[in-house]
């Protein structure tokens, strides 16, 4: 899961980024409206945390531009302006949720989880696929109740496939959602990670669609 944080206050941006990384997300950070708009417009994010009071281009305009351009990733608005008029304006501009400053980090994490889950059409924090159970709140996975020792990247790969289970996900898409923008991307590493993940899972859940990508399918659902 790859997120974008657009926040001009460097301390707050760092705190958000750290907390999100710790929760198992890949995070890109933008410090002004122009940069934030550009990243959100060009990179595929699973959710965006957008501060409304931004230099160069205000958050509301950024949001409106994304929505006009058809970018429909979930957006959590972060605002110090807590009047309902501003909240309504944000929601009308296309925000999916808002958190008013000052906030507790857990609240932001909970809202982001809910947004990502909603985008995947899931109802709870737990994603199941056959014997596999992923706890998105705790960033943990288990098979038949046995906890899996996953690295952060492996967890992200598994969680992304689980959120889009049944669908073939291309390697490019995986790379885009598993690494931040500064990462030197090499699609071969994905194959390595998928191999390791298969071994750790111990059950045949990840299928390879040759030349297309991978899909996570529960054993009973396999065609």
């Amino acid at each position: 899961m790859r997120l974008l944080v657009v926040e001009d206050d460097p301390d707050l941006a760092r705190q958000l980024s750290e907390a999100l990384v710790e929760a198992g997300y890949v995070v890109d950070t933008a410090h002004d409206g122009e940069e934030g708009h550009f990243l959100g417009d060009t990179e595929p994010y699973d959710a965006v945390i957008l501060d409304l009071g931004l230099p160069t281009l205000d958050g509301l305009s950024v949001l409106e531009r994304w929505r006009e351009a058809g970018r429909d990733m979930p957006v959590l608005v972060l605002t110090a302006r807590d009047r309902w008029r501003e909240k309504v304006a944000g929601i009308d501009a296309g925000a999916d949720d808002y958190v008013t400053k000052p906030f507790h980090m857990e609240e932001v994490l909970a809202r982001i989880r809910a947004l990502v889950r909603r985008a995947a059409g899931l109802a709870s924090n737990e994603v199941a696929c056959g014997p596999l159970l992923i706890d998105t709140k705790g960033a943990r996975a288990s098979v038949h109740g046995r906890s899996l020792p996953l690295t952060a990247l492996e967890y992200r790969l598994l969680a992304y496939l689980a959120h889009h289970q049944g669908r073939v996900v291309s390697r490019t898409e995986l790379i885009e959602h598993l690494y931040d923008q500064n990462f030197d991307r090499d699609s071969n590493t994905i194959e390595v990670f998928v191999g390791r993940l298969r071994k750790k899972l111990g059950v045949e859940l990840i299928h390879t669609a040759r030349g297309l990508g991978y899909s996570l399918v529960a054993p009973g659902d396999a065609d």
């Binding site: 705190q15 750290e18 110090a80 807590d82 309902w84 008029r85 309504v88 929601i91 400053k101």
Partner: protein, 447 residues
């Protein structure tokens, strides 16, 4: 009409002036008429003297005789009021039959015209007489004789009295007419002032923000000044609100950073920082809300339509809680308006709807109505509701019954503070839908 009014001043001023003009005019008319009547009597007396003289002669003894008497029959009727006398009061004098056995004794001359003198005298029955006398030299006499003709002034005085009466009535009616016309004119002239008053009442009632309308040249500057004042007022409020918003923004980001840093670090210092930042956050929220609301509660002309506010908030909150499938049914007449700032109404309805969405299962009902000249807004949910003692506690500032549901806990307290600032109130009750019902009573904007 009160004495301390423009209309009274204008009407009283005009009435005093008209009255004086009418009285002076009446006196002049009366004097002119008196003079005219007196002059025509004098002319007639002069003619009669000339006629008398023409009909007189002297007999052989040199005494005056009347060879052709005057035609007027009044001179033959005793004490008729018309008399003549030739030769003064002496024994050889000739007198009209009307004098009977009386002698005409004229007083001193009051006027002299071409050898004719005019006198006043007392008649045989005590009548006031006007006497004209001329010294005429008859043929064969060396001494001129005094020819006198007298007429009763009673007719003249009656005519003058009647004339005065008519003039007084006519001028009186005219005076009353003038005052009435003046009152009408003043009222008509001052109509624009009434319009200004009505326009100001509309502003006070929140039906208008500025003085609208085409005012006459004399009071257009006044209307302009009032509008400038109103604009200035609105600008000051807006500026104050902007400053307050900026302050909020400026404070909240550092508060977030501090709070998060403390939560991350752990330890007694971090706990202390976390507690204090939470306290600061509540204080900032509470006092900013008070400052914003206090700046707006007494602003003239504030008015907010309820229906659009309710619709906007219902749409936004439904979207926020679309996972839960919250449905908000809004029942609000289109013409209902709150007498206050739209933003404050939004805060109250927004916080209550948010609470309802948080606790409700599926259905929320927002209904607004006019009751006893107050605006009543009820927000009901189908959630678990609250026990009566919990309803009391939850209204206390910042009290939260369930720490696990997100929210600062200030929501209801903010609603209560805002409602009280506007002289309204909030009550909690059991909803028809089964959950909690929050009922707001607020000032209604009339019209």
């Amino acid at each position: 009409m009160r004495t301390n009014s423009l209309a009274f001043r204008l009407v009283a001023g005009a009435a005093v002036w008209s009255l004086a003009a009418l009285v002076i005019g009446g006196i002049i008319l009366s004097m002119f008429f008196r003079d005219h009547v007196e002059r025509s009597l004098d002319d007639r007396l002069t003619l009669l003297i000339d006629g008398l003289a023409a009909g007189s002669d002297t007999n052989a003894q040199g005494r005056p005789i009347l060879i052709r008497p005057l035609a007027e029959s009044q001179f033959d009727t005793p004490y008729s009021g018309w008399y003549w006398q030739i030769g003064g009061p002496g024994p050889e004098a000739l007198r009209s039959r009307s004098l009977w056995d009386m002698v005409l004794r004229a007083g001193p001359a009051v006027k002299t015209v071409d050898g004719l003198t005019l006198h006043h005298a007392k008649g045989p029955e005590g009548q006031a007489l006007r006497v004209a006398r001329r010294q005429i030299l008859l043929p064969d006499r060396d001494q001129p004789l005094g020819f006198e003709v007298a007429a009763d002034l009673a007719d003249n005085r009656r005519a003058i009295a009647r004339f005065d009466q008519v003039v007084a009535w006519a001028l009186g009616v005219m005076g009353v007419g003038l005052v009435v016309a003046m009152v009408i004119q003043v009222r008509f002239g001052l109509l624009p002032l009434r319009r200004i008053r009505r326009a100001l009442v509309r502003i006070r009632d929140g039906k208008a923000r500025r003085l609208e309308g085409d005012f006459p040249r004399e009071i257009a500057p006044l209307a302009g000044e009032i509008n400038t004042l109103l604009d200035h007022n609105a600008e000051v409020v807006t500026r104050a609100r902007t400053h307050v918003g900026n302050l909020a923004h400026a404070l909240k980001t550092p508060l977030s950073v501090l709070g998060n840093e403390a939560a991350e670090a752990g330890g007694p210092l971090a706990d202390q920082v976390a507690r204090q930042t939470a306290l600061m956050r509540r204080q900032v929220d509470h006092h900013l809300m008070r400052a914003r609301a206090a700046a707006t509660a007494d602003v003239l002309g504030a008015r907010a339509e309820v229906a659009p506010v309710a619709a906007d908030l219902a749409r936004a909150i439904q979207r926020l809680h679309r996972d839960k499938g919250i449905e908000i049914a809004v029942d609000c007449p289109a013409d209902l308006a709150f007498r206050g700032e739209a933003q404050d109404l939004e805060e109250m309805i927004g916080n209550l709807l948010e609470n309802a969405a948080k606790w409700g299962r599926h259905d929320i009902r927002l209904s607004a109505a006019r009751r006893d000249d107050r605006l009543e807004i009820a927000i009901e949910d189908d959630g678990p509701g609250l026990a009566p003692d919990a309803m009391q506690r939850v209204m206390a500032r910042g009290e939260r019954l369930d720490e696990t549901v997100a929210g600062s806990g200030l929501g209801l307290a903010i609603v209560r503070d805002l409602a009280e600032l506007y002289g309204g109130e909030i009550r909690l009750d059991v909803a028809h839908l089964g959950g909690l019902a929050a009922k707001l009573r607020l000032p209604l904007a009339l019209g």
